[in-house]
Subunit: 363 residues, 2 copies
């Protein structure tokens, strides 16, 4: 629905993920799809038809037309990662707010060009990490807070995975494993989430050391298909986070965070099993009973309902920030760009560790 | 209960864990406690009284008396690890079958001395890894079998933890972190399970490479309190297993095994929450629904009942093998010694990797 507060989105590209986000924009109460572009107008028309976009949506045969459209407030970029810097910088220079699919960029140097363009043009930046906007995430975050005496306490260990099965054809030809399009492969597409989650669990404190493990698997073009890495935080709050990401395994998106007093466990942290509610397991104060023949507690299943799917909540949050800048002269929020940048820094460190033969890389 | 098939146990030492195993011996239908020894007869008497051992149980003030008692079939050794080799070899030389608490030994050289003594004396060896005897483990094992087309398929990723909170007093003075008693610390006491589980998930195939991570934490005497390591199996069935073990965290004993077609997840793999049944989560053929807004399946909760607790099942299995050797002239089973030896080999490799500054160690 569109009213005065509504943020008008232009979508650059018709990738599969754009279908999900187009729906999210339609669901978000403060956002509307204003324009859709592909490199061919036919492809854009087809996308609009297949996704039941309203007839009012402007259909463009080039990305330039969207960023030149003065009625567009914000762009969503579902483009291959190698194109992010070009189109995010161009959009920002035209005063469009930028919602970019993850990974935000190929490396932090590229991301910094994007962030500088956004900052100097006073526009909001956010990457498309949807799970951070789910109320379950906020609920778990309360349990991670050191101010919460019934929370898990200082975090000691984080485990996360992002794996999905693919076909042989995907592994050689999909955009996400093409060196000229998404050179980071599984490290960008999947590990983004696990790194993101590890940072989230540590209140976005950067690790002191990042180590890639030697089990990396690449395709014939050298793009990463499977990667394992370990992130380490030094004293006073020592923590280790292990991540495993692969295009070669059954679907998994595990997140476990273990502290001194408790733990949280999720098996669907990136995409919840169902749209309308999600759960996590919370264990607190677990001890063994006498003789160590059982536990004093079982994990509590905590269910969190959500009226809007997480991707619509992401769009809503982004549009809220955009409207605040557009209508009330607010400054762009630095929260989301900073999360993206820290995530990208760790992605870079994993890559660096791989280059060094899996030696630890200090951050 | 004692009858002709019953195996008569002598227990060497009154450690806490001996209480649990004494109860397990009493519960196992084919085993009985015949003798208990401590370094002082008073301590042994106290143990017998506190654990309601029958008046018929012989109380000894030295370990020697148990291994010299010709009515004792088998010994259970809950002694500090540094004493395993001495007492296991002595017991074997007296034709006593040997059930030894984990870790089996301080290193594979010591374990080999024990295994050679057992082999040359024709007695059974087993280490005290109870969870391997739970019917849940057998149930999950069926899902790991490559012959099972509705199982998880070739294993790609294994995650396991064994963490428990302790006190500052424990961290400096407990037997399990004393260099002269249990020099392996958390690597022996906790990682034994995680290494064991990783090998189990790979049908006991040894990894090709073992890498310790740099986040190791030691006490003032240099004994490991917290350790993270990664095990890697090369082609044709590439797999990575990450383990994390710590005396510094909240209680956790996670095991997740992810293959090409499915996964299993457990949060209480070492000690089940309850004695009489245990569950695991099984996910098979998971895909995202259209638009990637959810999953086509949720994990199935598989509940497995057990009449006897896992430690009694362990004793029962051990006693079954002992009776078969004693009464029917069978050869000792090589299954359990081989599992112990492979676990110990990986423990050694993690230690070696630590010595080398966390360099990968080939096996």
């Amino acid at each position: 629905m569109a009213n005065n507060d509504t943020v008008r989105f232009g979508i650059l590209g018709c990738a599969k993920i754009a279908r999900k986000v187009a729906r999210a924009i339609a669901l978000a109460p403060n956002a509307t799809i204003y324009a859709i572009a592909s490199r061919s107008v036919e492809k854009a028309k087809k996308f609009a038809a297949e996704n039941n976009l309203p007839a009012s949506v402007r259909i463009y045969g080039s990305y330039d037309e969207v960023v030149e459209d003065s009625d567009v407030d914000a762009v969503y970029l579902p483009l291959p990662t190698s194109l992010h810097v070009q189109w995010a910088v161009t959009a920002a220079s035209k005063k469009k707010h930028v919602l970019v699919e993850k990974p935000a960029a190929l490396d932090v140097a590229e991301l910094d060009r994007i962030l500088e363009a956004c900052e100097s043009n006073g526009v909001q930046f956010m990457d498309g990490s949807m799970w951070l906007h789910h109320p379950r995430t906020a609920h778990m975050e309360q349990l991670l807070s050191l101010a919460n005496s019934t929370g898990i306490g200082p975090v000691h260990f984080i485990h996360s995975t992002s794996t999905m099965p693919t076909t042989q054809e995907f592994l050689e030809n999909n955009i996400r494993v093409k060196p000229e399009l998404d050179a980071l492969g599984a490290l960008g597409d999947l590990a983004w989430y696990c790194i993101n989650a590890s940072l989230w669990a540590k209140a976005y404190k950067l690790p002191t050391m990042v180590t890639a493990l030697p089990d990396v698997i690449r395709n014939s073009a050298g793009v990463i298909l499977s990667i394992t890495a370990s992130l380490q935080w030094d004293k006073p709050n020592q923590t280790v986070a292990n991540i495993h990401c692969s295009f070669l395994s059954h679907t998994s998106m595990d997140l476990a965070v273990c502290g001194s007093n408790g733990s949280v466990h999720v098996k669907d942290f990136i995409i919840p099993y169902k749209e309308t509610s999600a759960k996590f397991d919370f264990t607190f104060g677990a001890k063994f009973v006498d003789l160590h023949i059982g536990w004093n507690v079982k994990p509590e299943e905590v269910h969190v309902a959500n009226k809007l799917p997480q991707e619509a909540l992401m769009v809503q949050e982004f549009a809220r920030l955009v409207a605040s800048i557009r209508d009330r002269g607010s400054h762009p929020s630095t929260k989301w760009p900073e999360i993206s940048r820290k995530t990208q820094l760790v992605v870079d460190a994993v890559n660096k560790s791989l280059e060094l033969g899996c030696k630890p890389v200090a951050l």
